[in-house]
């Protein structure tokens, strides 16, 4: 084989190797990252839960003997723990509207329902505005406080909130 032929073969080999490197060995496209759960810290870190619905404010404070309301009356343990477990597992199903012109369409905005979780030192761990159920009733609209995006969250959150309402000690005004 002539030197010219050898050079051509080497060039062809280099081209094929380049093709393999660029096309075939290209890193596989990464799956879109799963959104973080609504509550990104362990549920044991939550020391205070507040659910504000209009004039009604439900408070649960973690103490040595379990959850109590602001007046020190005990909550039955499970609904608050169940709510925290749900928040720790639920991830937004979708971002319905990244920046809505009229958040009221989703039941969000001033005077709406709010759920706030804080650590023992008062540090906020989660603050959610809670909106309406979606038309199919499969989820409910929510958004993180201070963020415009409207999220769709699984309907099980509405169920857990209802359990909390029902279990409020002495009406928990």
């Amino acid at each position: 084989m002539t030197a010219r032929g050898t050079a051509l073969l080497v060039a062809l080999l280099a081209t094929l190797a380049g093709y393999l490197w660029v096309v075939e060995r290209r890193p596989a496209p990464a799956f879109p990252a799963e959104p973080a759960p609504l509550l990104a810290v362990p549920t044991a870190a939550v020391a205070r839960v507040e659910l504000v619905e209009g004039e009604r404010r439900l408070t649960a404070v973690r103490g040595e003997r379990g959850w109590t309301d602001a007046a020190g009356r005990p909550w039955s343990q499970d609904p608050v723990s169940d709510l925290l477990a749900a928040l720790g597992a639920l991830r937004p199903l979708a971002t319905v509207d990244p920046d809505p012109a009229t958040p009221g369409d989703y039941g969000l905005g001033p005077g709406g329902r709010r759920l706030e979780l804080a650590a023992a030192d008062g540090r906020p761990l989660l603050a959610l505005e809670l909106g309406e159920r979606n038309p199919a009733w499969t989820g409910l609209y929510a958004r993180r406080a201070g963020e415009p995006a409207v999220l769709l969250v699984g309907g099980v959150l509405a169920w857990e909130l209802e359990k909390v309402r029902q279990a409020a000690p002495g009406g928990n005004p």
Binding site: W137, G155, V156, W159
Partner: protein, 424 residues
């Protein structure tokens, strides 16, 4: 004195009238939906409000309703008080005397359930299992109908045959070499493209064993073992699941159960009181029941096309509200909320979330009772209306007009041989 007597008579008459008024059937529909908002699961109330559903509400005398189950069953239930406990790890039923799974149980294993008991949910699930098993076995030929807003889009005719080893009247069967709680064969009869597709299920009487399930497809002539978590897969692409039979079709040990509340709910029943059965052989009894036509089958029907139009009544019943959740990663459902009758231990409604916490499905489970005398009774699941609220589609299951109870199946009937030779 006369005035006093007259006053008493007036009070008694008023009381009698009130009682009589309470007994009068009434219709819950869009015009008075507020009366139903605490008597139904929330997604169902939404459809009631929109006029898609309505309910013929019939009161049942509590004492008479109690006796829908035989005296033999209630006597056994009373004797079970204090006999059983639960295995901590699995929620399996445990005989206190031996600390092991009991050899045989008949009646409700937990006659009293305390709402503050952390094991209450699991005890309710065991009562449900044993109440459903009292008939001992039988079968029916039924249909599965896929229905959307345009009407029926698919119909499958199928059958199911079952044999129960636990919970049955008249004591345990003599032979149970495989240590089963129960077994069943089901198969498709129509249309021809699915004819012969069938399954065999064996449920073991133990705390940790999975059901053994085989599926047979005639075109491949092979019976293959399938995962028991497939109970949460749609049946034949319809909005109905194997776990909808009785509103829960799995072993108690498959779920973590949690009692979360109590309320009154409308229980779907063919009629409030039992049907009689007729003997056709020393071991077999037939029960005839009326068909429940749905909207898509009735000209000018009102409401959703899948809503039952006739032969279904709703009896207000006290229920436990119980959450169930499987830890099996292959099981598609997340949190399931079920409404169990506090006395008869049937599940009338369930709401299902997927594993992402999204609500998507409600099933309504209807029943009828069978009783001839106080030595034997049975309760049949006769209807499932499964509604996928995400897709706004539904499936109807059951609605058979004839069913049977069988006390003595051929010992070799529930076998792979039967499964693979069904279409021969």
């Amino acid at each position: 004195m006369r005035l006093y007597l007259r006053l008493c008579a007036a009070i008694l008459a008023a009381g009698a009238l009130t009682a009589a008024a309470d007994e009068q059937p009434w219709t819950l529909d869009a015009s008075n939906w507020e009366k139903g908002k605490d008597l139904l699961p929330e997604p169902v109330v939404k459809r009631l409000q929109k006029g898609e559903y309505w309910f013929k509400v019939v009161s049942a005398d509590p004492g008479k309703f109690h006796h829908n189950y035989s005296q033999a069953f209630w006597d056994a239930t009373e004797k079970n008080a204090g006999k059983y406990d639960l295995d901590e790890k699995t929620c399996g039923l445990k005989d206190k005397a031996t600390d092991k799974i009991p050899d045989f149980v008949f009646g409700l294993p937990f006659p009293q359930v305390d709402k503050a008991d952390p094991k209450g949910g699991c005890k309710i699930a065991w009562n449900f299992t044993m109440a459903g098993a009292m008939g001992g076995g039988g079968g029916a030929t039924f249909t599965l109908n896929g229905v959307d807003t345009g009407g029926q889009f698919r119909r499958i005719k199928a059958f199911i045959h079952t044999r129960g080893y636990q919970g049955r009247h008249f004591g345990p069967l003599k032979d149970n070499p495989e240590g089963l709680a129960g077994e069943g064969i089901g198969g498709a009869l129509e249309p021809v493209d699915v004819e012969g597709v069938s399954t065999l299920t064996k449920r073991y009487w133990n705390w940790e064993g999975q059901d053994a399930v085989w599926a047979y497809v005639p075109s491949t002539r092979r019976a293959r073992r399938v995962n028991s978590a497939s109970r949460s897969d749609p049946v034949a692409g319809l909005d109905i699941f194997a776990d909808d039979l009785n509103c829960y079709g799995g072993k108690v040990e498959y779920y973590q159960w949690k009692l979360v509340g109590e309320q009154t709910i409308l229980a779907p029943l063919l009629q409030p009181y039992p049907f009689a059965s007729k003997s056709v052989s020393p071991t077999r009894q037939l029960i005839d029941t009326p068909y429940m036509p749905a909207g898509y089958e009735v000209p000018n029907a009102k409401g959703a096309p899948w809503w039952i139009q006739q032969n279904l009544v709703f009896v207000p019943r006290p229920v436990w509200v119980v959450e169930g959740q499987s830890s099996d990663p292959y099981y598609n459902f997340g949190k399931v909320i079920m409404y169990f009758d506090k006395e008869m231990y049937r599940i009338y409604w369930k709401q299902v979330h997927n594993r992402a916490g999204e609500y998507f499905y409600t099933a309504m489970c209807g029943y009828h009772f069978v009783k001839n005398d106080e030595t034997f009774s049975a309760v049949f699941p006769n209807l499932v209306v499964g509604v996928n609220d995400k897709t706004n589609r539904a499936a109807l299951g059951g609605r058979f007009q004839s069913s049977f109870l069988e006390q003595s199946w051929d010992p070799s009937y529930f076998s792979l041989r039967t499964l693979t030779h069904m279409t021969d």
